[in-house]
């Protein structure tokens, strides 16, 4: 498609795609490079002021795809337009990170922070470098320090919870997720992740908490299959425990049975007309059956 043949509506469609991906923070870098490169190479004149944010978006995606050629040219355009910008400097740092020139990247970020100690982007990049280098405990320490100052940074709390999960420090991961649930009470994913952490910690109390939060996640999004399975599994384990009262056992068997029926239904609907998921449907049925046996 040459530039003369592409209609304005087509260009506008591509711009909308890029905007959507920007707003939703998708990391579909190959698609972004695909669409973005065409827009920038062929239709730059029609992008107006959007062009700068598109250069930034495409540059980051290009780094993700090892397209240093594209990243470099985007960076040059941005440097030319915004010669003293910290935001552009940070992008230059990201390029150095992609090239694994971590010392040079850190120097760049340190110079930003010297100029502006409140620059959160530069601080986060430094923490990302620690992560990339496998220095988890340092990354965790830095991130904790960061959060003492910027206690409302959701992205940072989530990053910290991920780091703790990787380090098997489930208690601290739970704490981070509690923060996130407090500030995002309608987010079913945080509830479900919290439940998974509690389940992993194990023990009757944690299993009951897990069950409650799986249930909460389902209330917020009744199609969350992880939450549904989680509810089924935690209720089944509680019911099977010799330490619970008859009433608790009965209640949890009820929850488990409800979850099992929901799971069955979901898989029946999914399996309709699709020969290829016969296997997964059968596997689920067998699993539900076998767990029924251990429960009673």
């Amino acid at each position: 498609i040459t530039s003369t043949n592409v209609s304005l509506s087509c260009i506008s469609e591509m711009r909308d795609k890029l905007r959507k991906w920007r707003e939703e923070n998708y990391r579909n870098s190959e698609q972004i490079v695909d669409v973005g490169e065409e827009l920038l190479n062929e239709h730059a004149s029609k992008l107006g002021d959007d062009i700068w944010i598109i250069y930034e978006q495409v540059m980051i995606a290009a780094l993700d795809c090892s397209r240093d050629d594209l990243a470099w040219s985007c960076l040059q355009e941005l440097k030319r337009q915004f010669p003293d910008s910290h935001r552009v400097k940070r992008l230059a740092g990201m390029r150095l990170e992609a090239l694994e020139r971590y010392e040079d990247a850190n120097k760049l970020y340190d110079s930003i922070l010297q100029d502006d100690p409140t620059n959160t982007a530069a601080r986060k990049r430094k923490i990302s470098i620690l992560r990339a280098q496998g220095k988890s405990s340092e990354a965790i320490r830095e991130l904790n320090e960061y959060l003492e100052q910027f206690v409302g940074d959701q992205e940072a709390w989530h990053e910290l919870s991920e780091l703790y999960i990787n380090e098997h420090d489930y208690a601290k991961a739970a704490f981070c997720l509690e923060e996130l649930m407090m500030t995002n009470p309608h987010n079913h994913l945080y509830c479900e992740q919290y439940a998974e952490v509690k389940y992993t910690q194990g023990g009757l109390e944690n299993l009951e908490l897990a069950r409650k939060y799986f249930a909460q996640a389902l209330k917020l999004n009744n199609r969350n299959m992880r939450a549904l399975f989680g509810l089924y599994m935690s209720a089944s384990h509680i019911a099977a425990s010799p330490k619970v009262s008859a009433k608790v056992k009965k209640d949890n068997m009820k929850y488990g049975a409800w979850a099992a029926s929901q799971i069955s239904r979901a898989y029946q609907m999914a399996g309709r007309g699709k020969k290829e998921n016969k296997c997964s449907v059968k596997a689920v049925e067998e699993m539900l059956e076998s767990m029924q046996i251990t429960m009673s």
Binding site: R27, A132, G134, I165, N166, H168, Q193, A195, E196, V197, Y199, T200, G202, A210, M225, R226, F229, G230, M233, S234, A266, Y267, A270, K274, E276, N277, C279, S280, K282, A283, V284, E286, M287, S290, M291
Partner: protein
């Protein structure tokens, strides 16, 4: 010191799995349709997770479901694979050891396979894998000479073909299945495509 044979099908899907999620740690189970014996024939694999590998519920769920599927299809779980997000580190994580240990309880020549991300580049002549076996209550590195990848050149070419045809996007892992349960984690469609590419003259891989 038993021999381990890794089929093209199993290798291809592991490779595709690691490639599909380059920024994540991924893991999966290694299966065998051969009877138990001194040698381990890894004939297939099931890609499991690309997030929160160390959390219990989904891992337990996946193990149970794969177990059920295996008994329906006369296969056994004979090992576990993992590719770490951090490319320069291909050593088994505590979670990898834990799951491998569980598999060992049922299969005494179980194999722990770590994918070496640093060797995953086009033209690399060495298989990007490191294998461990259980000896003296520890997981120890396996002698490379006991690991067989039949038709290695052909396997590489098949993997390349999958990428150029775009078929690598067909791969479904258990995590993706939970996001959309109409997706098939047994990968029947992809398996068929791979088997098509494996020339019949080379026998059963």
């Amino acid at each position: 010191m038993g021999e381990v044979e890794l089929s093209c099908l199993a290798y291809a899907k592991m490779y595709l799995h690691a490639s599909q999620f380059p920024r994540c740690s991924v893991n999966g189970l290694l299966l065998s349709s051969s009877p138990a014996g001194a040698a381990v024939c890894i004939t297939d694999c099931v890609p499991l997770l690309h997030s929160h590998l160390s959390l219990a519920p989904i891992t337990q769920l996946a193990l149970t479901q794969v177990d059920a599927w295996c008994s329906q299809t006369q296969q056994r779980i004979v090992g576990y694979y993992q590719a770490n997000a951090c490319v320069s580190d291909s050593s088994p994580t505590p979670c990898a050891l834990k799951i491998a240990e569980k598999i060992f309880e049922q299969c005494n020549n179980a194999v722990l396979l770590m994918i070496d991300g640093e060797k995953m580049f086009p033209g690399c002549r060495v298989p990007p894998i490191v294998m461990y076996e259980r000896k003296d209550a520890r997981w120890t590195l396996k002698d490379k000479h006991t690991i067989m990848l039949r038709q290695w050149e052909e396997t590489c070419s098949i993997v390349n073909q999958l990428f150029s045809s775009g078929d690598q996007t067909l791969l479904v892992d258990f995590d993706s299945h939970l996001d959309d349960i109409t997706k098939d984690w047994t990968n029947q469609k992809l398996n068929a495509k791979i088997m098509e590419l494996i020339s019949p003259a080379n026998g059963n891989v």
